[in-house]
Symmetry: C2
Subunit: 212 residues, 2 copies
């Protein structure tokens, strides 16, 4: 079993490196060293080297570092950004519309092509269509969409999830803050903003406490 040869921790850091390298490229840099990346990203240089050695098709050069352009391509390939995946948003509330209108996901391999809701209030958001749920199944099948983003209220999350699975969606990015269950032919990633907030609040409380 060689599933998941690369650790989740490493995979999670890849988009960060990519972002950094794209900026470096824009700034006209040809090479960057692991120690510079480490300093700017506030992580350890050894970790950077270890991560990059996993994805880089060409080893870094002593004295120079890594070639920016090549490394960008290697990471994009590693993350599968070379073929953009189409996704749909279900739930056209505030968050759903924000996602539909946000073009930045294109930089991370994701192409959101439509949103769905039981009640359509706006027919398009920044030129992208919002459809009623009745059209969901046929749309997903026609466009061979494999990835769905759930932004509905908690109460309907499981129902919506079942609908996605039924239509053939295989990966679900869940922003409804509730646990959803799926068959093991489908993968789910729950985004828990409350967890992130808890860490921030905790740090803030410690900080303010220390000053007293």
């Amino acid at each position: 079993m060689e599933k998941n040869a690369v650790s989740n921790a490493t995979i999670s850091r890849m988009p960060g490196y990519l972002r950094y390298l794209r900026d470096a490229k824009l700034a006209g840099k040809g090479y960057v060293s692991s120690s510079l990346i480490a300093k700017d990203m506030a992580i350890s240089a050894v970790l950077v080297r270890k991560d990059l050695s996993i994805v880089s098709s060409v080893p870094g050069k002593p004295r120079y570092g890594f070639e920016v352009g090549g490394l960008i391509r290697d990471i994009e390939k590693f993350l599968g950004y070379d073929n953009l995946s189409s996704a749909v948003v279900v739930g056209a509330g505030g968050l759903g519309k924000a996602f539909l209108g946000y073009e930045g996901f294109q930089n991370y391999g994701l192409n959101i092509i439509a949103a769905f809701d039981i009640r359509v209030t706006d027919e398009t958001v920044r030129g992208k269509p919002v459809y009623p749920m009745e059209k969901f199944d046929s749309f997903v099948k026609e466009h061979k969409v494999k990835l769905g983003i759930i932004t509905v209220p908690k109460a309907s999350a499981q129902l919506v999830c079942d609908k996605l699975v039924g239509a053939g969606i295989r990966g679900i990015w869940n922003f409804a803050n509730t646990q959803i269950s799926v068959p093991d032919t489908v993968v789910v990633k729950n985004v828990d903003l409350a967890a992130s907030l808890a860490l921030l609040s905790g740090d803030l409380a410690n900080l303010l406490q220390q000053e007293k």
Copy 2:
């Protein structure tokens, strides 16, 4: 130095327990066992017990488990939800407006009271005000706001961040996907959706690969 006696991993799981327990309470349950929580949340029962033993003011009862109401209060207190902190959003684009209009943060100790933008397009969102940036400083000082949420485009993130720090904000929740630097009298939590997406895409690719 007893800063951070509780691990980040444990803190991150707390909002999840809280959510679960609130649901259990709504469902009329008086007690829940660690093994039931573990099963429903898909984590290990020992981990649940270890986490809960840290926050629970009363030990769990053998044969019964934990008292739902008491545990909810203990977690809320641990996470500091007993005194809601006021926050402001800077950047009233799609995401900023979504946050401003989302009432769910109230359940996680956060009260977003206003948004700011250089250009105000809507004066209110679901009854909450959007102000021009000129009013930022005075508003933050007047309302003693300590927490700021950055939802501006990447290019202006550092500038906005400096403005927040200048006004006296001490905790920053950063959704602009770029690194920002702050003095060490301020804490920052970067939310990196691209990292979460990378994990999902990776799992999805593995899944689809295996079927071939």
